[in-house]
């Protein structure tokens, strides 16, 4: 397409400006994490300063970062994997054995996400307590799985819809049973959808804070709960908070950067073809 070079330059500048603007708060968080508390609240704000690692040291001294990180990792990965295991067959069934109710079921599943978590806290808390699952990774994993399940089913459903029916029929004629059909045809063909679904759910689980705060105490806390102990009501804490926040989000942000291509390709929710 013929384009005006001026326009291209303008567009490039605009895109970079927008990106930097949107990224600025995060970048600022990054800078603040390396300041002292006094520098953090300096007026006017400091862009150039002598970076210190003291805040990170303090975070590590105060709380067992690795424990929280491990819990975050376990719960988000486990909930994603389990979720995919439950969601994949359901999505498969909806995509390839359509009935009149398929659409209603899908919408119903989504609507289960609309109940405010706060409203369900007490029932879930009491249930978890009865089951002896308070402060356990399993309870947290279960809750993450269930709350992400509707999104997973929906995304997988739409990625399965992209697989031409004829390919499945060909496999059936080749003598494939249900498992072989799923294993050898559906699964490899929906890898992209599976990956982006997994990525999104990983991010959502990693960033979940309400359940993580309320269902855990000493053992199963995730990085989201770590943050809750850094906005101190007494004393200056901006730099320490930034350091803790940075440590809490760094893994998932970096992971997100690397997987953004995958996300761009997969995050279509069946709307874009």
């Amino acid at each position: 397409m013929p384009t005006n070079p001026w326009l291209t330059t303008l567009r490039t500048a605009g895109a970079w400006a927008a990106a930097l603007l949107l990224f600025f708060p995060l970048g600022w968080l990054f800078l603040t994490a390396f300041k002292t508390e006094l520098q953090a609240i300096a007026v006017p704000p400091l862009f150039v300063f002598e970076p210190t690692l003291e805040n990170f040291g303090e975070v590590q001294r105060r709380s067992d970062y690795l424990l929280y990180a491990r819990n975050s990792l376990i719960t988000s990965v486990a909930s994603t994997v389990i979720g995919l295991l439950i969601a994949a067959p359901a999505a498969y069934s909806m995509a390839f054995f359509r009935t009149k109710r398929t659409r209603d079921i899908l919408m119903w599943m989504l609507s289960t996400k609309m109940m405010p978590a706060v409203g369900a806290l007490l029932p879930i808390y009491v249930l978890a307590q009865t089951a002896g699952l308070l402060d356990s990774l399993s309870a947290l994993t279960l809750v993450f799985t269930l709350s992400n399940l509707p999104i997973m089913v929906w995304m997988l459903y739409s990625s399965y819809k992209d697989i031409p029916n004829e390919i499945l029929e060909a496999a059936r004629m080749d003598g494939a049973n249900l498992w072989a059909e799923f294993r050898h045809v559906v699964l490899p063909l929906s890898v992209g959808g599976l990956a982006s679904t997994g990525l999104l759910c990983l991010v959502l689980a990693w960033n979940e804070s309400f359940w993580a705060l309320n269902l855990t105490s000493a053992k199963a806390g995730t990085l989201a709960t770590l943050i809750a102990s850094y906005s101190s009501p007494e004393g200056l804490f901006w730099a320490k908070l930034s350091a803790a926040s940075l440590m809490a989000i760094a893994p998932i942000v970096v992971f997100g950067w690397f997987s953004q291509k995958q996300l761009v390709q997969g995050l279509t929710f069946g709307a874009v073809k």
């Binding site: 031409p164 060909a170 496999a171 059936r172 080749d174 003598g175």
Partner: protein
């Protein structure tokens, strides 16, 4: 004896009656072509045979076994889909060997069979590629190869060439023909394409609205169409049909056997076009299509549009007045219901 038997097959989708009672006996090694207008149920019937849809009523017998309710994987049929339906994530080799692997055929044997088929189809250099790295024609051959390696009892083809461009289509058609001759496998082939039907088929089945109109060899259908529908459906350009009396001079050639409400049919090559001072009925040239080897002349004779075909170039121009003569040995006659009552004698 029939190898594959279709016994009074019916298919309904909810309230639509798509296949309305089809009986057909297919002999072993036969190449059967299904033709018919779009939506007449060709694909549906093929899918019923394949076991991809439930048969509403009726029966299917293959090689003496009743397969009416057997899952398609066990029927021992192979299908070549219009879109090829290759497994996009597998190499050509894996595509071709998939069914054998599922059937737990020993590795050596798989290799032998696949390589043999690849050889036959000139696919050997591409065995490691995935379908997206192949051209349309090559993909098409892989789809056929996938069917061949299984050595199924019957091959099913659903418009396998319709996604290819004209030139490739011609070549692949010839290849399919040669392959059929080489393998001698029973085949059912659905197509829209006249030339494919004429050149590939041992017998052609003409469908209309979920019912069989006529079954016969290509030239039987060409020369002795059972009714008006088949007459117009087979042959390109279509047979000219003239209502009795519309061109009295033509009707007169029927030897009095044409009813007053009957139809007279003549293929384009049965018409001769002469200059305005020649013999025949006066007419006018509407359009000339010179194809090189032959020429199609679109005419209007007494208001009736006709197409004549001749093997020479024509000096005529659009709008020229001409005379059109009928070859009396090429006449088809139909009654008021469209059933054929007479055909020309033809060398065959």
């Amino acid at each position: 004896m029939a190898y594959l038997q279709l016994k009074n097959i019916h298919k309904r989708f909810d309230d639509v009656h798509v296949i309305r009672g089809v009986d057909l006996d297919i002999r072993q090694g036969e190449f059967i072509v299904f033709v018919g207008p779009s939506g007449c149920g060709k694909s549906t019937l093929l899918r019923l045979i394949a076991g991809l849809e439930h048969i509403t009523s009726g029966g299917l017998v293959l090689d003496g076994r009743d397969i009416t309710h057997m899952p398609s994987g066990q029927r021992d049929l192979a299908m070549v889909f219009q879109s090829y339906a290759l497994y996009p994530h597998m190499s050509v080799y894996d595509n071709m060997s998939f069914a054998l692997r599922l059937a737990k055929v020993p590795k050596d044997e798989i290799r032998r069979k696949v390589e043999h088929a690849a050889d036959q189809l000139r696919l050997t250099p591409y065995l490691r590629r995935t379908p997206r790295e192949l051209s349309g024609g090559q993909r098409q051959r892989v789809a056929i190869g996938r069917a061949i390696v299984r050595a199924p009892k019957v091959f099913l083809f659903d418009e396998p060439l319709s996604n290819l461009d004209a030139a490739l289509r011609g070549n692949t058609r010839v290849e399919i023909h040669k392959l059929h001759v080489a393998l001698g496998a029973t085949s059912i082939y659905v197509t829209h394409d006249q030339v494919e039907a004429m050149t590939l088929a041992d017998r052609v089945v003409v469908f209309k609205d979920g019912l069989i109109e006529q079954v016969g060899t290509p030239l039987e259908l060409y020369d002795r169409p059972a009714n008006r529908f088949v007459a117009q459906f087979i042959g390109m350009p279509s047979m000219n049909l003239v209502a009795a009396g519309a061109i009295p001079a033509f009707s007169a050639r029927s030897g009095g056997r044409l009813a007053a409400d009957g139809l007279l049919g003549v293929r384009p090559e049965g018409l001769r076009v002469h200059a305005a001072d020649g013999a025949g009925e006066p007419g006018r040239v509407d359009l000339i299509e010179a194809l090189g080897a032959d020429t199609l002349i679109h005419l209007a004779v007494g208001g009736v549009p006709l197409i004549a075909r001749q093997n020479e170039r024509t000096p005529l121009r659009v709008g020229d007045a001409v005379r059109v003569e009928l070859d009396p040995t090429q006449l088809h006659l139909f009654d008021a219901q469209g059933q054929a009552i007479a055909h020309p004698e033809t060398v065959s």
